[in-house]
C-alpha cells in the first residue's frame, strides 16, 4: 500500500524520500523541540528540568493544547480557523461539573455516591457532547450562511463563553469532591508506577498501564485517530483538497460544505475532550472562566507544527510537537524564575520565529 503522508508527499519513495519531504519537516520541528528542551535542561539548576517527573509534567500540561489542537489541525488544513476553541473547552468543563452537581446538592451527591462510575460517565458524555454541538453550530453557520470562519467563531467565542457562564450562574461549580474518577485523569502516575517494582502489594493494586495519566493515553489515542482520518480516509483527503483549492474540490464533486461541517464539529469534539482534561487539571471545578485565550495557544501549536493558514498543509504529529514546544517554553520559563511578562514575550517571539522560518523554507523549495 502506498499511503501518502499527511502533508502530501514529494517524489520518490522510501525512507530517504520521506525524510527529504514532510518527514524531514517533522524531524526539523522535533529537533527544534529537543533544542529548546536542551536549553532549559542546561539552564535550570541542579538538573531539575530533565527529571522524569518534570517530563511527565510537561506531557500533562501539553495535553489540553494538544488535544484541542487535533481538531484545530483539521480546521486549519481546510483553510479555516476556530477562535472559539477556548470557549469550547470551557463549556465542556462547566457542563461536566453541572451534571455532577454543585457540592451542596444532596440529591446529586447521593446519585454520584451510588454510581461512582456511571455518574461521571454521564457527566463526561454531556461535557463532550455540549462542545461537539457547539462545534456543529459553528460549522452550520459557516457553511449555511457562507460567512468567514474568523468572524463566525469570533462571535461564537463570546456566545459559548456566555453560555458556560450562564450554566454555572456565573460562579464556579464545585461538584462532590474526590469521589469521581474524572478528577484523577490528569494525576501524575510515573512515581507510583516506578514504585511498583519495589512494592509487590502496590503492583497488584495498580495497572501496568498506569505509567502515564489517563489523559495522556487519551491524547495518544486521539492522535492516532485524527492522523488516521487525515491520512487514510476519503474524508481526510477531501479536507486537504478543500483547504488546498476549494473551487477545484467543488468542481471535482467533493462535498465541500459537508467536509467543513465535519472539521468544525471535530474541533468541537476534541475541544470537549480537552475540556475534561482541563476540568481534572484544575482540580475538578466547573470554572466558566477557565481556558480563556487558550485558542491562541492551540492555534500556535498547530502553526508551529507546520500548518499554513492558507490551508492544504499541516500534520497531527506536528501539532503534537508544537504543543510540547510551547509547554516546554512555558514550564522552562517558570522554572528559570522568569517573570510572567518575560515568558509572554519569549513565547510570542518563538511563534513568530517559527512561522518566519517556515516561510523561508517554503521559498527555498519554491
Amino acid at each position: 500500500m502506498s499511503a501518502p503522508s499527511e502533508t502530501a508527499k514529494s517524489s520518490g519513495g522510501g525512507l530517504a524520500a520521506f525524510f527529504k519531504g514532510p518527514g524531514g519537516n517533522l524531524l526539523g520541528r522535533f529537533l527544534a523541540l529537543v533544542l529548546v528542551f536542551a536549553f532549559f535542561a542546561v539552564m535550570v539548576n541542579e538538573g531539575k528540568f530533565y527529571t522524569l517527573r518534570n517530563l511527565e509534567n510537561i506531557l500533562r500540561q501539553s495535553c489540553v493544547y494538544a488535544t484541542a489542537g487535533l481538531g484545530m489541525t483539521m480546521v486549519i488544513i481546510a483553510a479555516g480557523i476556530d477562535l472559539s476553541a477556548g470557549s469550547l473547552i470551557a463549556i465542556s468543563v462547566v457542563a461536566t461539573a453541572w451534571v455532577l452537581g454543585p457540592d451542596d446538592n444532596g440529591g446529586v451527591r447521593l446519585f454520584v455516591a451510588q454510581h461512582p462510575t456511571l455518574a461521571p460517565l454521564l457527566a463526561v458524555s454531556v461535557g463532550v457532547l455540549s462542545a461537539t454541538l457547539a462545534g456543529l453550530f459553528n460549522g452550520t453557520i459557516i457553511v449555511g450562511l457562507r460567512l468567514m470562519p474568523f468572524i463566525v467563531t469570533l462571535g461564537t467565542m463570546g456566545m459559548i463563553r456566555g453560555l458556560a457562564k450562564g450554566l454555572a450562574h456565573e460562579k464556579d461549580i464545585y461538584p462532590p469532591g474526590d469521589e469521581t474518577w474524572i478528577n484523577h485523569i490528569m494525576d501524575p502516575r510515573l512515581a507510583n508506577w516506578i514504585a511498583r517494582f519495589h512494592d509487590p502489594a502496590l503492583a497488584a493494586k495498580t495497572s501496568p498501564w498506569a505509567i502515564l495519566p489517563a489523559g495522556v493515553w487519551i491524547l495518544f489515542v486521539g492522535v492516532i485517530v485524527a492522523s488516521f482520518i487525515l491520512r487514510y480516509t476519503r474524508l481526510g483527503r477531501h479536507i486537504f483538497a478543500v483547504g488546498s483549492n476549494e473551487e477545484t474540490a467543488r468542481l471535482c464533486g467533493v462535498r465541500v460544505g459537508r467536509t467543513k461541517l465535519f472539521v468544525y464539529t471535530a474541533c468541537g469534539f476534541f475541544c470537549g475532550v480537552a475540556g475534561l482534561m482541563q476540568y481534572s487539571y484544575i482540580g475538578g471545578i466547573g470554572q466558566p472562566t477557565s481556558a480563556v485565550s487558550y485558542e491562541l495557544f492551540v492555534i500556535a501549536s498547530v502553526i508551529i507544527g507546520g500548518a499554513s493558514f492558507n490551508g492544504g498543509e499541516g500534520s497531527i504529529l506536528g501539532t503534537l510537537i508544537g504543543a510540547l514546544t510551547i509547554t516546554v517554553l512555558y514550564t522552562g520559563g517558570q522554572q528559570m524564575g522568569w517573570p510572567k511578562w518575560v515568558q509572554e514575550i519569549v513565547i510570542g517571539g518563538i511563534i513568530i520565529g517559527a512561522v518566519a522560518l517556515d516561510r523561508l523554507r517554503h521559498r527555498r523549495q519554491g
Binding site: S2, P4, R237, S244, N245, T248, L251, G312
Partner: protein
C-alpha cells in the same frame, strides 16, 4: 454519424441579462470542435451548463442521443463530460495521483484504496505521456505545462466521452502547445469528442475539424475549419469586419530613451542589451522561462540587478519602481489578476493608483476628481463599463487589461513596458490594444513589449529581439524576421547553449 454531444436552442438568463439566447452545437465522437467567440459571448456560461454547475432555462442537451441534464459537477463527470479550465483547477498541496482521482477516489468503506488509486493514476499518466512524473509528487512542484497534463489525465482517468478545453494554451510555450496538440489528436483517435475553446485562430486552424462561433450568447456561424478563411471567422466573432487587425501608421523613431547594457539580474537574465527609441515598438520574443519577464522586471526595479547598466533618459543605474514611475516608465504585468490589478477596487482606483497627485487640494485624493480623471480614458480607449466607480472584478479580461494600460497613460509615462499585454483577452479588445499601441508610438512614446504570440509581435513591433536561456539576441527590424525564424532563434539558440 450520430453526435456525441448535441445542444439545441440552449438558453439561460441571469436576472434580466440573457447570457445564452440560443446555442446550437454538435460534436461527433473523434472530432475536435473549436468554439470561438469574444469574451462575454457566453462561452463560460455554456461551460457551466455543460459541467452541471448551472441548469439551462430552456433548450435541449443530448449526450449520445440521451437527454443530458447533469445535477452537479460530480454528476457531469460521472456521465463522462470532463472540463479543463483556463485557470488550472488543481489542489496544489495534494499529490498528482490524488488530484487525478479527486472526488472519485476508489474506496473501501471510508478508506481510500491507495494501491488501486495509484494504479489508475499511473495508467492515466501514461495515457497523457506524463509517465516520467512520480504519482506521489506534489502538484505544486510541477511546471505549468505538466500541471495541465495532470488535469487532462484527470479527464482520461474518468474515461470521459466529451472533453472540453477552455483556452488550454494561454500559459504554454510553443513546444508545449505542440505536445498538447499531439495529445488531443491521440484522444480524438480514441473516439473522444473534444470541444476546444480558444481565442487563437492559428490554434483553431491547427487542431480543429469544425468550428462554431458564439456571439452575444448565440451561435452565429459554424463550418469546416479547413475551408474557411480566418477573416471570415473573425468577422463572425466581432460582428463586423476587422479591416486591419494590426494598424500601423508612419512612425518616426526619436532619441534613445531606454538603454540596457549587459544586464544581469538575480537568476535571469544572464546578459541583455537593448536600446529603445522614442516612437518605436520593440518586441521581445522567446520561450516562456527564457527570462523575458525577468528582464522587464529588472529594468523596472522589481528584480535585483547584479551587473550591467540601465539608463532611462538621463537617469542611470538601478532604481526601484517608485523611481521608475517618477522617471516616466510604467509596467503592465503579465499577471493581471494577482499583480496587475487590485480586483476588489474600482476602475478609478486602479487607473489612478500610479499617480494620485493632482487629484485634490493639499495632497488629498477626491473620488470625484479620480473619476473625472478616468472618464477621458474610458471614452477614448474605449473601456466597456458602467462607469469609473464600477468594481474592476466585474469587467471582462479585455477591459481589465485596458484599465491596466490606461494606468500608464494616466501617469503620462514615456516608456511603456508591456508584458504579454493581450494574454487571454478577446479579439476585439486585442484589436483595440494594437490600435492604442500604434497611436502611442506615433505620439512619440516608446514601447517595449513581450509576447508569446508571434503573429502579434510581427504585426505590432518595429524591431524584434529574441531571448533564449537568459540571453537577449540582437534586435532586428521586423521585416528581417518571419514566424519560423523567431521560433528557431528561441529554440535553436537554446539547443546550441
Amino acid at each position: 454519424m450520430t453526435s456525441r454531444l448535441e445542444m439545441r436552442g440552449v438558453r439561460r438568463s441571469f436576472g434580466a441579462t440573457l447570457a445564452l439566447r440560443g446555442v446550437e452545437l454538435t460534436v461527433a465522437p473523434g472530432e475536435v470542435m473549436a468554439l470561438v467567440g469574444e469574451n462575454g459571448a457566453g462561452k463560460s456560461t455554456l461551460m457551466k451548463v455543460l459541467s452541471g454547475a448551472i441548469a439551462p432555462d430552456g433548450g435541449e442537451l443530448r449526450l449520445d442521443g440521451e437527454p443530458y441534464a447533469p445535477a452537479d459537477p460530480l454528476d457531469a463527470r460521472q456521465r463522462g463530460v470532463a472540463m479543463i479550465y483556463q485557470e488550472l483547477a488543481l489542489a496544489p498541496h495534494l499529490s498528482v495521483m490524488e488530484n487525478i482521482l479527486l472526488g472519485i477516489e476508489p474506496v473501501r468503506g471510508p478508506l481510500v484504496r491507495w494501491a488501486e488509486l495509484r494504479r489508475r493514476a499511473v495508467a492515466a499518466l501514461a495515457e497523457v505521456g506524463l509517465d516520467q512524473v512520480a504519482p506521489e509528487t506534489q502538484v505544486r512542484r510541477l511546471a505549468i505545462a505538466q500541471q495541465q497534463l495532470v488535469e487532462i489525465a484527470r479527464a482520461v482517468a474518468l474515461d470521459c466521452r466529451v472533453l472540453v478545453l477552455d483556452e488550454p494554451t494561454s500559459s504554454l510555450t510553443a513546444r508545449d502547445i505542440e505536445k498538447l496538440f499531439a495529445l488531443i489528436r491521440r484522444l480524438k483517435a480514441r473516439g473522444i469528442a473534444v470541444v476546444y475553446i480558444s481565442h487563437f485562430l492559428e490554434e483553431v486552424r491547427a487542431i480543429s475539424d469544425r468550428f462554431t462561433v458564439l456571439r452575444d450568447g448565440e451561435t452565429v456561424g459554424a463550418g469546416v475549419t479547413a475551408g474557411t478563411p480566418s477573416e471570415q471567422i473573425i468577422a463572425l466573432m466581432v460582428g463586423r469586419n476587422v479591416a486591419e487587425l494590426y494598424p500601423r501608421s508612419v512612425r518616426t523613431p526619436g532619441p534613445v530613451v531606454l538603454s540596457v547594457t549587459n544586464l544581469a539580474a538575480e537568476g535571469k537574465p544572464l546578459a541583455a542589451s537593448l536600446e529603445l527609441r522614442a516612437g518605436e515598438v520593440l518586441g521581445i520574443s522567446g520561450l516562456v522561462g527564457a527570462g523575458r519577464t525577468e528582464l522587464m522586471r529588472a529594468i523596472f526595479g522589481l528584480r535585483r540587478v547584479l551587473a550591467g547598466e540601465i539608463s532611462v533618459g538621463a537617469f542611470g543605474g538601478a532604481a526601484d519602481p517608485q523611481q521608475r514611475w517618477a522617471q516616466r516608465v510604467g509596467l503592465v504585468s503579465e499577471d493581471r489578476k494577482t499583480e496587475g490589478l487590485a480586483l476588489g477596487l474600482s476602475i478609478a482606483d486602479n487607473l489612478t493608483l500610479a499617480r494620485l497627485s493632482g487629484l485634490g487640494p493639499f495632497g488629498l485624493v477626491l473620488p470625484s476628481r479620480q473619476q473625472a480623471a478616468c472618464a477621458p480614458w474610458i471614452a477614448k480607449i474605449p473601456i466597456k463599463c458602467q462607469g469609473p466607480a464600477q468594481s474592476i472584478g466585474g469587467l471582462s479580461g479585455g477591459n481589465q487589461q485596458k484599465v491596466a494600460i490606461a494606468r500608464l497613460l494616466h501617469a503620462d509615462v514615456d516608456v511603456l513596458l508591456l508584458d504579454e499585454p493581450t494574454r487571454g483577452i478577446d479579439v476585439g479588445s486585442k484589436a483595440q490594444i494594437y490600435q492604442l499601441i500604434d497611436e502611442l508610438a506615433v505620439r512619440g512614446k516608446a514601447v517595449l513589449m513581450i509576447s508569446s504570440y508571434i503573429p502579434e509581435l510581427l504585426g505590432v513591433c518595429d524591431r524584434i529581439a529574441v531571448m533564449s536561456r537568459g540571453r537577449l539576441g540582437p534586435a532586428r527590424p521586423r521585416s528581417d524576421w518571419d514566424e519560423h525564424q523567431l521560433i528557431t532563434a528561441a529554440i535553436g539558440q537554446e539547443e546550441a547553449a
